[in-house]
């Protein structure tokens, strides 16, 4: 239950092509994350899978059966919306049981499933409240509860954590991952936050302007990005890109090196620069180093407590093994 295949799926809004023909296979039980910058078509793709939008071309297959023309309710998928989309005039219990009532399940079974979902999501105390009386995190859990009780073939999440504050987001991230471990159901998760993508996904799909740039496990994308876009998108802080003589020396248009793959030193190294802003996080320090001849500063990670400060001269040595080279089209040279 929950193998989803997109076969040349295409979507236009009037004249505008939002998703050019696209192929993707999602295995049963996988946690797939769609990431990409704002407006790249992540939500649209998710809504196509859900059936809330009609495809312009191509086919969607769920568990081997053509679902392209199947209405949303019949696809066996459950969706958690960014705005939660809870029903404001119903209690939490009524909200969670809504899909079961629509499916005309018998009352005892409804109660059993609602109680079970509420227990899993720590909502038992709140069952008789209305959504308006809950905090953002609790509303989020109600929305997830409403999805769980249907026992769907796959869950679709559209940026479910973007309305929560940072601390709560970390907590909910873990809860959703745990839920996936327990249910082993396919989950498709849309986000533009690469940290969420890296921490939660079995498989990341990086999108740009409706096109798939690369598909792979988090570490695959981290270690072997196919092109400059993916290299820049995955990893935090972003990869540094250098053009000009340093790139030419290595037969490339651009070279990229991650902040964590550069060794800083106060006395000797390959490149020389001056420290601009430095961010002390306690565990790590990030220096923004200005180098002669390069417009953008280079970000470098260093240990938590180092005795280098704003304005100091610094020497940088990139790890030769971890320098990525890109050609003039942005593709990585292997």
């Amino acid at each position: 239950m929950g193998r989803i295949v997109l076969d040349k799926v295409e979507k236009n809004f009037g004249e505008v092509t939002v998703i050019p023909p696209l192929d993707l296979e999602i295995e049963d039980g996988e946690f797939v994350v769609f990431v990409g910058p704002s407006g790249c078509g992540k939500s649209t793709l998710l809504r196509l899978i859900a059936g809330l939008e009609d495809v312009t071309g191509g086919a969607i297959r769920i568990d081997g059966e053509d679902a392209t023309a199947v209405p949303p309710a019949k696809r066996g998928l459950a969706m958690v919306f960014q705005s939660y989309a809870l029903y404001p005039h119903m209690t939490v219990r009524k909200n969670i049981s809504f899909p079961l009532r629509m499916a005309k399940l018998d009352k005892a079974e409804q109660d059993r499933r609602v109680e079970q979902a509420a227990a899993v999501l720590n909502l038992t105390e709140y069952l008789d409240r209305r959504p308006g009386q809950l905090s953002g995190g609790q509303r989020q859990r109600v929305a997830i509860g409403r999805a769980i009780v249907r026992e769907p073939g796959a869950f679709l999440f559209d940026e479910p954590l973007s309305n929560l504050d940072a601390a709560l987001r970390v907590g909910m991230r873990l809860e959703i991952s745990e839920l996936h471990e327990r249910l082993k159901t396919t989950m498709i998760y849309v986000t533009h936050d690469q940290v969420e993508a890296m921490t939660m996904a079995d498989k990341i799909v990086v999108l740009q302007a409706g096109r798939i740039e690369q598909v792979g496990s988090p570490l695959e994308l981290y270690r072997a990005p196919r092109n400059r876009f993916v290299a820049g998108f995955i990893g935090s802080p972003k990869m540094n890109f250098l053009e000009g003589p340093e790139a030419a020396k290595r037969d490339a248009q651009t070279i990229g090196v991650r902040p964590e793959h550069i060794a800083p030193s106060p006395s000797e190294g390959m490149w020389k620069g001056r420290i601009g802003v430095s961010e002390h996080l306690g565990s790590d320090t990030f220096f923004h180093v200005h180098m002669e001849g390069y417009a953008n500063p280079i970000t470098v990670r260093s240990g938590g407590e180092v005795a280098m400060h704003h304005g100091d001269t610094i020497y940088l040595t990139p790890d030769a093994e971890r320098i990525y080279r890109f050609d003039d089209k942005g593709l990585r040279i292997v």
């Binding site: 989309a85 029903y87 409403r146």
Partner: protein, 288 residues
Amino acid sequence: MATEHSRSAARLMMAPAVFLLLVWMLVPLTMTLYFSLKRYLPLRGGDLGWVGLDNYVRFVTSSSFWPSVQTTLIIVGGVLLITVVLGVFLALLLDQPMWGQGIVRILVIAPFFVMPTVSALVWKNMLMDPVNGLFAHLWKFFGLAPVEWLSQAPIFSIVLIVSWQWLPFATLILLTAMQSLDSEQLEAAEMDGASPFARFGHIVLPHLGQAITIVILIQTIFLLSIFAEIFVTTQGSFGTRTLTYLIFQRVLESQNVGLGSAGGVYAIILANIVALFLMRIVGKNLDA
């Protein structure tokens, strides 16, 4: 307005408005109460002195009192029913994306701008007239005998005319409410397996609850005192005499100001009873 100073300043600024409102309400109310306790016949001797509660007793014991209350309630109820049901329906329709939406919306609102007297005259002479009316022609076209609307179905006719006038108001308020419904809620319900009817019943209608309450309350206030529509159509005959119309007849046709004023006080009481009932039934929708 937190500080003592700003509060007293605010009171000072509001004072003229409050004073005006008080005078506006209190003067007519006091005059009505004053006259209701007098025997006052302007063309037959004028002020004939105090009579105590005589007018009140005569007004309720008159054979036309209870029928007029009943007629009032039937007309108000009928118009509310038609405008709310059709209003929800029209709002649903107008909320759909369609070609020429702007123009259609203006057309739907238009009847509200027509004066009650004019619209009643138009309905009476152009639509409901048993000889020349459009309906008469329509009936004849199908080989039926034309209906004499205002004498054969007088209450229904008046309800129809008044509903036509108030439907735009209901539609407008309900449409605004409809547009504030989060489309993701409908999509969520669709994914949860709700049929279009279930979506309407479980999501749209509860969402409209507050707007429907407002429509009912506001319309009731105005409908309890409809007058022009009756005056230009049936003149209160054929059982269309509402409480308002009865008071009008007492004061102007019988030239009995005292009796009419007592009726006015009964009208105030009736309005309050209706309001109390409505607040009981639908008022809880306003809390949310």
